[in-house]
């Protein structure tokens, strides 16, 4: 399981929390839901997407605290330069923090549905079951 997969799981539960907690207009809600559905790709199956529960308040505060590590003046949409040795990577600090072993294990404890998804998508037995059910 890559750190990117970990981050995707965190983002899914965060988006669900945002959808349930914040009143939005139709355009915003549609955009969030479209983004949420694109998270189901690669190792994370559409079934896994439905299984992940929204993030709790404690988890949300953890994410907010991690995001404070990112420089405030960071450009969230940097121009991509293929020749650059170290291309800009906005949100790198919070990404590293949230996907680190200790923080991610705390988030797993706070949101046990992430554990279920890990078993389903990232263990061989779970993957086999998913494949059979989809067939």
């Amino acid at each position: 399981m890559t750190r990117g997969d970990r981050y995707t799981l965190i983002v899914i539960s965060l988006l669900k929390k945002a959808l349930l907690a914040c009143p939005t207009d139709a355009a915003e809600r549609l955009e969030i839901l479209e983004n949420l559905n694109t998270c189901a790709s690669g190792a994370i199956s559409p079934i896994a997407l439905t299984l992940i529960a929204p993030m709790c308040d404690t988890g949300y505060r953890m994410v907010e605290a991690a995001r404070q590590l990112d420089p405030p003046d960071e450009n969230p949409y940097p121009q991509y330069d293929p020749d650059s040795v170290r291309p800009p990577c906005p949100g790198r600090a919070s990404f590293d923090m949230l996907t680190s072993d200790p923080v991610f294990s705390h988030l797993r404890r706070l949101n046990p549905s992430i554990d279920e998804v890990l078993k389903l998508c990232f263990s061989r037995r779970g993957r086999d079951q998913t494949t059979q059910s989809s067939v």
Binding site: L20, C22, T24, D25, R29, L30
Partner: protein, 212 residues
């Protein structure tokens, strides 16, 4: 015995401390008398060194910086400047001089002092440049007469340029039609969210044609 290097100082063999053995290979260490700055740098009242020149460790370093502006540029200029500034010893070989000069020329403190001195000299030579430009403008036979006029006019009345910058701001406007609401509900169900559990959509009244 006459010193083969022509050194006037007879001290190069007397530098060994009593009881000190000569080097392990039995070679004699020749050390000359350290050179000195020929005369101390002049102090001009009302002027002082800039911060980078002041930060240099000694007057010899300052003299090296100043000497670089005096020696003719080219091969050996750094060595000449180092000699003028009183570095090295009376027995320094050509190789030693090149090492001394190279070390000095690449010292960060000296480079900073050179930069500072460059700026000072350029600023100080501005009146002369202006005078030369005036002569050029007045000399209508000079081949660069027109260029001088153009240069001056460019600075007095700079050419105005206009940039047209087009900024496109894309804002997604989604009319809240029943179809859109249906799509929202479908996507929510796909993501495992019950549509009824979602908070109400802000300020919306679904109509057939999408108008509020």
């Amino acid at each position: 015995m006459e010193n083969p290097r022509g050194d006037e100082s007879p001290a190069h063999n007397e530098l060994k401390a009593p009881g000190q053995r000569s080097s392990q290979r039995g070679r004699k260490q020749r050390r000359g008398k350290p050179n000195r700055l020929s005369e101390p740098l002049p102090v001009v009242e009302g002027t002082e060194w800039g911060p980078a020149m002041k930060a240099l460790p000694s007057d010899r370093h300052r003299a090296f910086v100043l000497a670089l502006y005096q020696v003719p540029p080219g091969y050996g200029a750094h060595v000449k400047a180092a000699k003028m500034a009183g570095f090295g010893t009376s027995t320094s070989s050509a190789k030693s001089w090149s090492v001394i000069a190279s070390k000095l020329a690449h010292d960060e403190r000296i480079l900073a002092a050179l930069c500072e001195e460059d700026q000072k000299r350029i600023r100080a030579s501005a009146p002369r440049a202006v005078r030369a430009l005036q002569h050029l403008i007045e000399d209508s036979d000079h081949r660069d007469h027109a260029r001088a006029i153009a240069m001056t006019l460019d600075r007095v009345h700079p050419v105005e340029t206009t940039h047209n910058v087009r900024v496109d701001h894309h804002h997604r406007i989604v009319p809240t039609t029943p179809e859109v609401l249906e799509r929202i509900n479908r996507l929510a169900r796909q993501a495992g969210i019950l549509p009824d559990s979602l908070p109400p959509i802000i300020d919306v009244t679904p109509t057939k044609d999408g108008t509020k």
